[in-house]
């Protein structure tokens, strides 16, 4: 079954005719992703990349039956685009846009309370199910179909993890993004992989800042008996100085709980096999599977 993107997914792209939307939709189509339409306001009725364009998400849903969307809309308009998808009751929205104001995302959080839509991102590389399809910017050729679920805050580190777990292959790769206020978090992704009968092991890649890794570790600790899966982990930023923001809006150490060391300890205490460097995450996964 894999998670989030399956053979049943019908996907649209918001910001379809823009340069980013166009480029990455082309790559997704090459990867045989089931893209059924695109949304760009005022361009409804035309065809782009041989796929119909709609003015609104609601219209796209009515005409195509789409249930998932990739958002490639510029930062000032991205929160509105997400909420348009939420209102249309899509199952999944993956927002790639980097640079959305935090207060906009706080509003999105509030509006999404009680909604059935799952948001992944923003500021993330997206979701890819090898051999099935992708939303976002993860290069298809580095991923192999298999049974490892990968969840990562960083895009490029999820690519490293994909390459290093080539011998096992991946069920789905989820990039949850580096922003301080986002949608899907480690706990959500772990839960999806735990319930997925095509996932046998999980790679979790975190970084400094915030405490979602610690919450993930708490969740793993609560797994019992048969309902358990091996997890390998890495946390980037052990060499980071305190108080300086490193690239991602969320990657900043302000308190003791937000350091790479504290997070690695939390993961270890939950039974996660922790890799000391990103280059050994594949080995760590294999080791965790053997135990």
């Amino acid at each position: 079954m894999a998670v989030l993107i399956t053979r049943e997914s019908k996907i649209i792209c918001q910001g379809f005719t823009g340069s980013q939307g166009t480029f990455h939709s082309e790559r997704a189509i090459e990867y045989n992703t089931n893209i059924v339409g695109g949304v760009t306001p005022d361009k409804g009725g035309m065809k782009h990349l041989n796929i119909p364009v709609f003015n609104t998400v609601a219209e796209a849903k009515k005409k195509t039956g789409c249930n998932a969307s990739g958002v490639f809309v510029p930062p000032p308009f991205a929160a509105d685009a997400i909420l348009e998808g939420v209102e249309a009751e899509l199952d999944l929205i993956v927002c790639i846009t980097d640079g959305i104001p935090t207060s906009d995302m706080q509003r999105v959080r509030r509006e999404m309370k009680g909604s059935k839509t799952r948001l992944v991102g923003p500021n993330c590389p997206g979701v890819l199910t090898p051999g099935v399809g992708k939303i976002g910017i993860i290069p298809g050729h580095i991923c192999k179909p298999g049974r490892i679920g990968v969840v990562s805050r960083s895009g490029t580190l999820s690519y490293e993890a994909a390459v290093q777990t080539s011998s096992l292959g991946q069920s789905t790769i989820i990039g949850i993004g580096g922003d301080p206020v986002n949608g899907t978090n480690f706990v959500d992704a772990l839960e999806l992989f735990l319930k997925d009968d095509e996932t046998d092991g999980i790679v979790l890649i975190g970084e400094i800042g915030g405490t979602p890794e610690v919450e993930g570790a708490e969740f793993i600790k609560s797994w019992k008996g048969e309902f358990k899966k091996p997890v390998a982990g890495f946390v980037a930023g052990a060499a980071a100085p305190k108080g300086r923001k490193l690239g991602h809006a969320g990657a900043i150490v302000n308190s003791g709980a937000e350091t790479a060391e504290a997070k690695k300890e939390a993961l270890k205490s939950a039974g996660v096999t922790v890799a000391h460097t990103i280059t050994t995450i594949g080995e760590a996964m294999i080791k965790a599977m053997e135990n």
């Binding site: 790559r27 930062p75 000032p76 980097d98 640079g99 959305i100 104001p101 935090t102 207060s103 995302m105 706080q106 509003r107 999105v108 959080r109 509030r110 509006e111 910017i137 290069p139 580095i142 990562s152 805050r153 960083s154 895009g155 490029t156 580190l157 690519y159 490293e160 390459v163 580096g178 301080p180 206020v181 890649i205 970084e207 400094i208 800042g209 915030g210 405490t211 979602p212 919450e215 890495f234 980037a236 930023g237 052990a238 060499a239 980071a240 100085p241 108080g243 300086r244 923001k245 490193l246 690239g247 991602h248 969320g250 990657a251 308190s255 790479a260 000391h276 460097t277 990103i278 280059t279």
Partner: protein, 388 residues
């Protein structure tokens, strides 16, 4: 983005927050006019730099009389300030704030920040103001009171009331505190702040509630709609290389080591710093060539790192994904020619046309070592830099 104390106070005043009367000056002679305008027996003279702990380092002084003020300002402007928060680097003082000194009865702590755990804004307060809040949290966690707001919700009057009572305030003083708290929160929300810290929020002997110090930082992503804040940026607070990197849209942070780094992706960049440390080296910088690692961007980033005198060797780690490695390699060789490369350079490329890219680097005639893995790359550069 961070701003100065005086800028933060000017902003807060517009939201009805009570701040001491004061004025910013750039030259000692201005102190005369400002002191006579303030017409107070005692004034505070405060060096304006983006770092806490100024008091302990001679950056804040209480003065009485015009002569003492002028003398203090003369010493302060141009002085190199090193506080517990500046690290090894010193900050040169170029602006000084002069404000009315208050008779402090009680010092409180008040801070609003974006809480990554809840996604909402959290307010942190304490009766124990005027000192390092992290130390207070460690020594006396019970003296800290927090209000966690749900994402996208506002601070309401009842929150402000609760906070004022938790801070032990009563009657008109509690009412004044509430008004200030609401004002600070409104400023936080309307100006897309990431953090506003008032330490101390003071109750004076005369029964006033006043924000004596303020530290504020703002959401970089929202600056496009906060021109007033964006215009407050003080370039003197940044490393010149960081400013140039920002002009090229590169995520660059200067660090203390001697291995220059160029990586695509923030996560991979951090992981590269980590692996260098793991093998006994130290990175001279964090560098994320954000966005597409095109040959032009790679060349611009490379030249920037090369100019840093602390850099004794360079490691390039690019996970090309969709970029062609031969293009990136050619960009690097061209940039090497331009700078006349004579520092060791280790390159790890991953992506399409890796072989071709490696060949271009090998045959360049420059001291470039192409390696196939990130692990080897880290080991190699640490060795090469040690030999130098």
């Amino acid at each position: 983005m961070d701003i100065h104390e005086y800028q933060a106070k000017q902003l807060l005043a517009k939201f009805g927050v009570n701040i001491p009367a004061g004025e910013i000056i750039y030259q000692p002679h201005e102190a005369v006019t400002v002191t006579s305008w303030l017409n107070e027996e005692e004034v505070m003279v405060k060096a304006q730099v983006h770092a806490g702990g100024r008091g302990k380092s001679g950056g804040i002084k209480k003065c009485s009389g015009q002569d003492e003020v002028v003398e203090t300002v003369e010493k302060m402007i141009g002085m190199k300030l090193k506080t517990p928060q500046t690290g090894d680097k010193q900050k040169t003082v170029s602006r000084v704030y002069i404000e009315k000194a208050h008779n402090i009865e009680t010092e409180l702590y008040f801070c609003i920040l974006v809480d990554r755990e809840t996604g909402g804004n959290t307010i942190i307060t304490s009766k124990k103001g005027g000192m390092d809040i992290e130390k207070v949290a460690e020594d006396d966690p019970n003296s800290i009171f927090k209000v966690k707001l749900s994402p996208g919700t506002k601070l309401l009057n009842h929150h402000a009331r609760t906070i004022s009572y938790e801070l032990g305030l009563k009657g008109t003083i509690a009412k004044k505190a509430q008004k200030n708290l609401m004002g600070i929160y409104n400023a936080f929300e309307k100006l897309d702040a990431a953090m506003i810290e008032i330490n101390p929020l003071a109750v004076t002997k005369e029964g006033e509630v006043v924000a004596l110090d303020c530290k504020a930082s703002f959401d970089d992503n929202a600056l496009y709609r906060q021109r007033q804040i964006a215009d407050m940026k003080d370039d003197n607070e940044y490393d010149p290389l960081e400013l140039e990197a920002a002009r090229h849209d590169l995520n660059y942070v200067k660090l203390d080591g001697n291995i220059g780094l160029m990586v695509n992706g923030a996560g991979l960049s951090m992981a590269t710093m980590d692996i260098i440390k793991f093998y006994g080296g130290e990175a001279a910088n964090f560098m994320d060539v954000a966005g597409a690692a095109t040959p032009q961007r790679v060349a611009a980033a490379f030249k920037l790192i090369y100019r840093d005198n602390d850099v004794k060797g360079i490691l390039i780690n690019i996970f090309g994904g969709m970029m062609r490695c031969n293009d990136i390699a050619q960009g690097l060789v061209d940039a090497s020619k331009e700078v006349g490369l004579d520092k060791p350079l280790v390159v790890r490329l991953e992506g399409t046309n890796v072989e071709k890219g490696m060949d271009i680097l090998k045959n360049s005639g420059f001291p470039i070592t192409p390696v196939p893995t990130m692990e080897q790359a880290a080991k190699e550069i640490v060795e090469l830099v040690k030999k130098k």
